[in-house]
């Protein structure tokens, strides 16, 4: 809550809340991300019917059902592909894509690279808990190599995926990291991401309290505001992200690339699609 009154807003966070109650575990960071999303939309004063929330599969991907916006709960790893098509066809909509570290970086890893490269005007929020929570706790691409469990004895031994570095290298125009324990801070990042043209990537560290409570409860004391201001220089951003401790939060890079948006066909009508299908 920003304690300084501002001009009257057209919408309140509750205007973006659906009647469906989240099934996430109590204590899960995703509850906070949902509220941050609602606050961000209120701050942007976007009518719910002008926002589409697209997701894949996983705990975090349940989010479209919990909002009052248009939603598409898609298939595993394909949220960005769906969202790209939607945004190209309906550039008037604000399209927010939600995913998790498994859905977004493993199954959907290739879509992630090319969504960054295409730089379509999307906001991609990845709730990263370094685990596949919905399927009972398998290591994900961002899991630490030495995380030792019965399902991965001795740990995977694999270097974690570094999504921010990969986003930068692939061409994302806005890169930020947040922590679910700071709802207002996450809302601010989502606002900035939506306002920045092109592909905006926001990694939100969102602890899993069921399968990784012991390790991730402490994230609250590890996160810290980025000590260096945001940059628009990819080389500086690369150095910074490569040496990052993983707990820097804030806007880390904001580029100047023009978003990709093909011109609509002048004489196109949805009924034309039917001619493409033969039964």
């Amino acid at each position: 809550m920003n304690m300084i009154p501002s001009a009257e807003k057209a919408f309140k966070p509750a205007d973006y809340k659906s009647s469906v109650k989240p099934v996430w575990c109590p204590g899960c960071g995703d509850h906070s991300v949902l509220l941050a999303f609602q606050r961000a939309m209120a701050e942007l004063a976007l009518p719910p019917e002008q926002v589409a929330v697209v997701s894949g599969i996983g705990c975090s991907s349940r989010i479209p059902a919990y909002t009052n916006c248009y939603g598409f709960h898609g298939v595993h790893g394909r949220a960005l592909a769906l969202a790209s098509g939607l945004k190209v066809a309906r550039p008037d909509l604000t399209v927010v894509v939600a995913s998790g570290d498994g859905d977004g970086f493993s199954i959907g890893g290739n879509h992630f690279l090319h969504a960054c490269r295409r730089n379509i005007d999307l906001t991609y929020v990845v709730m990263d808990n370094r685990i596949y929570g919905m399927t009972k706790g398998q290591p994900s691409p961002t899991t630490e190599p030495d995380w030792d469990t019965a399902i991965a004895p001795g740990g995977t031994g694999l270097s974690p995926f570094h999504p921010l570095v990969i986003a930068l290298a692939s061409g994302a125009n806005f890169i930020a990291r947040g922590f679910s324990g700071d709802i207002g801070g996450c809302a601010k990042l989502i606002v900035e991401a939506v306002r920045t043209p092109g592909f905006s990537f926001v990694q939100i560290l969102s602890p899993c309290v069921t399968f990784r409570e012991d390790q991730q409860k402490g994230w609250k004391s590890l996160v810290h505001a980025a000590i260096v201001p945001e940059t628009d220089d990819p080389a500086r951003a690369a150095r910074r992200l490569m040496t990052d401790d993983g707990f820097n939060v804030g806007v880390l890079y904001r580029g100047k690339r023009q978003p990709y948006q093909p011109k609509p066909l002048a004489d196109f009508a949805p009924s034309h699609l039917e001619t493409e299908f033969a039964i």
Partner: protein
Amino acid sequence: MTNAPQPVEPPKFNSVAEFFAQALAIEVEAAERYTLLADQMEVHNNKEIAAIFRKMASIEGEHRDEIARRAGNALVAGRSATFSWTGPDGPEATDFDQLHYLMTPRQALRLARFNEERAVKYFEAVAEAATDPAIAAFAGEMAEDERNHVVWVDEWLAKFASDDPNWDHDPDPPVHSE
């Protein structure tokens, strides 16, 4: 589950209307947050805790309505004051990470007590820092309201015996991978 509330740095208010608006926003947020917590507990079939949070939501809702009534048509720059929701949570909003699906009534009420204590400290700080006597008076009343809530939560807490040390034992735990 939580440490003692820390002193809160109050913002600077330019008018009584601004302060009314903020006090209202704090209570709106508190009532909405308790409702969300109650929903979570209902979904996970911890009905006793859901009922506690639902009751807290109702109390904060009454406080919200009372402030709205007292504030009347408080205006800022000729318009009703509302808030940007991109800053830190208010003093009466429970952190989501404090919940557990098997939490006990005492734990839930200790969270509520923590919030009420934090609100007392917050409004005391506003009253102390205010240069406008009207803001100081209203902040003092708010602090007194919150102190009464602390007493009330304490009475509620006294109705519950100490927690079982194995309160979080689940005979059918969700963890399969350890």
